[in-house]
Amino acid sequence: MSSKEELLQRLSDGVVEMEEDDVAEAAQEYLDAGYPAFDGIMEGLVDGMNRASQLYEEEEYFVTDVLLCSDAMYAGLDILRPYLPEVSNDDKVTGVIGVVEGDTHDIGKNLVKIMLETAGFNMIDLGRDVPLAKFVETAKEENADFVCLSTLMTTTMGGMETVIHLLEEAGIRDRVKVMIGGGPISQKYADKIGADGYSQNAVEAVKLAKKLLDIA
């Protein structure tokens, strides 16, 4: 039988190497051996995903690679998560994420979501072509700490500013941070529309969220 360390390594490597089936198998063996699910997730799966993000930052991995790594991670998560001690989502920092109305390009948004989830945020994914008011409603209902808006097109980027106004109108702008990103978006644009931050890619988005929300 493999040791805990060996299995953690196999989980981590499986994520980096995009071996969905092997990750699922290793996760099951890990559970059967009686090791704690939490460590398996953090030191195995999340460690692997962090290594994959590092490779992405170094341009060794590209978007398709990261998507497959995340599939492997989720395959392991599906098995380990039911064995986690109960933690209510109230304790977690919650973010709402989506692609603004009029745009259906969601690859970037999906990557950001994966990276934020990996980092421990509770993410509510509204998908793409999301009506602007939906961001605000969801932020309110879910008591969200931040909202992430994405678009790849200049024609739809104006919607981001509208969301910020709607948050103001709803009276929750001061307790919801707004992060934006996407092809035509820049720090300058974030400043112009009064967003709290801009990030150029998914790895940066995690750093930004932590900075805005004062999380170490």
Partner: protein, 340 residues
């Protein structure tokens, strides 16, 4: 004095001309704005479905001093729609976009319709080209195609598609063959209808998404297969690819188009250094065209000319709310340089 058509032809043939051409092809690189629609009282989304209106809007682009070409269509959903995808035609400020996919996996491609050039919006585009050919003479007509990767990821969920390039590699190739054959049919019909050149935009096939290996194996392979299958007698071809080129300059140089076009994230100077012998098109910031002012647009235009762009063009087409005076400043900017 060269006509716009003569000038562009000479540039694409690699000959010396008086100044760079200034065009915006259409398709993904939309060049119609709200203000332009108001000028000629022809509006989207109706113009996406009516050949006469489409041709009139395309003409207005040249007649109002925006760009030195005609181009149709004004979106990148025609091919996907003809293959069965549901498309929302958008509004006078939003472009049409796909709202319903046809298949769930590359292995299901037999469920897709073949593109029929005698019906639907494929026919609208071809009729619009015929009208332009009939009614105009000295201005080049650009027919636009959505690139193979972008078309392939418009009729199914892109995330699944990207993953299956690796997971179902062989089936993915069969799927890409099918998609490319549809584009060849539509592209050849556009040239027969009177298009002088064909612009292929493949924004979903970026080096950043695919990485160099898959960019070469899928994007370059099928773009080239499409280009090679178009008639010889056309004036030329333009291929536009989005995103950073730094991971894939070598692979991009293998694309056999007459001209290459990049978005504004790519520095024209850097592109020129890496692609010394290529005809380059671009890349005045689409963002600056919408949110900047004429002075800034002219400054960016001058910088493109200086950096060695042969065909000056908005980097990713135009946002529909771009002010006309900004749009007109690209061509005006090019002309100013060469008057002096």
């Amino acid at each position: 004095m060269l006509t716009p058509k003569e000038r562009l032809k000479m540039i694409l043939d690699g000959r010396k001309v008086d100044r760079p051409a200034c065009i915006c092809p259409g398709g993904m690189m939309n060049m119609v704005t709200s203000e332009l629609m108001d000028r000629v009282k022809v509006y989207m989304p109706d113009a996406h479905k009516d050949a006469r209106m489409m041709a009139d809007l395309a003409k207005a682009v040249y007649e109002e001093g925006c760009f030195e070409n005609y181009g149709v269509p004004f979106c990148m959903t025609v091919e996907a729609e003809e293959m069965g995808a549901q498309v929302d035609m958008g509004t006078n400020v939003y472009e049409p976009h796909v709202t319903g996919y046809v298949i769930g996996s590359v292995s299901e491609y037999q469920k897709l319709h073949q593109v029929d050039i005698n019906q639907g919006r494929a026919k609208v585009v071809l009729d619009a080209i015929r009208i332009l050919k009939e009614e105009t003479k000295d201005v080049p007509i650009v027919g636009n195609l959505t690139g193979p990767i972008s078309t392939a990821s418009s009729v199914m969920e892109p995330v699944t598609f990207y993953k299956e390039l690796r997971k179902k590699n062989q089936e993915a190739h069969a799927y890409m063959e099918f998609i490319t054959n549809q584009l060849i049919t539509f592209g050849r019909a556009q040239i027969e209808a009177g298009a002088d050149l064909i612009a292929v935009s493949d924004p979903s096939g970026t080096g950043e998404i695919l990485g160099p290996k898959y960019f070469k194996e899928f994007a370059v392979t099928y773009i080239n297969r499409l280009l090679d299958a178009l008639q010889e007698e056309k004036m030329g071809t333009i291929v536009h690819i989005c995103g950073q080129m730094s991971p894939v300059y070598k692979e991009v140089d293998e694309v056999r188009s007459s001209a290459l076009s990049f978005d504004s994230i790519v520095s024209m100077k850097e592109a020129r250094e890496h692609l010394k012998d290529r005809i380059l098109m671009g890349n005045v910031s689409t963002y600056a065209l919408e949110f900047g002012d004429p002075d800034r647009v002219k400054m960016l235009t001058r910088s493109c000319v200086k950096s060695g762009s042969d065909i000056i063009s908005p980097a990713c087409g135009l946002g529909m709310k771009s002010p006309l005076r900004n749009v007109q400043s690209v061509l005006a900017g090019v002309k100013e340089i060469y008057v002096q």
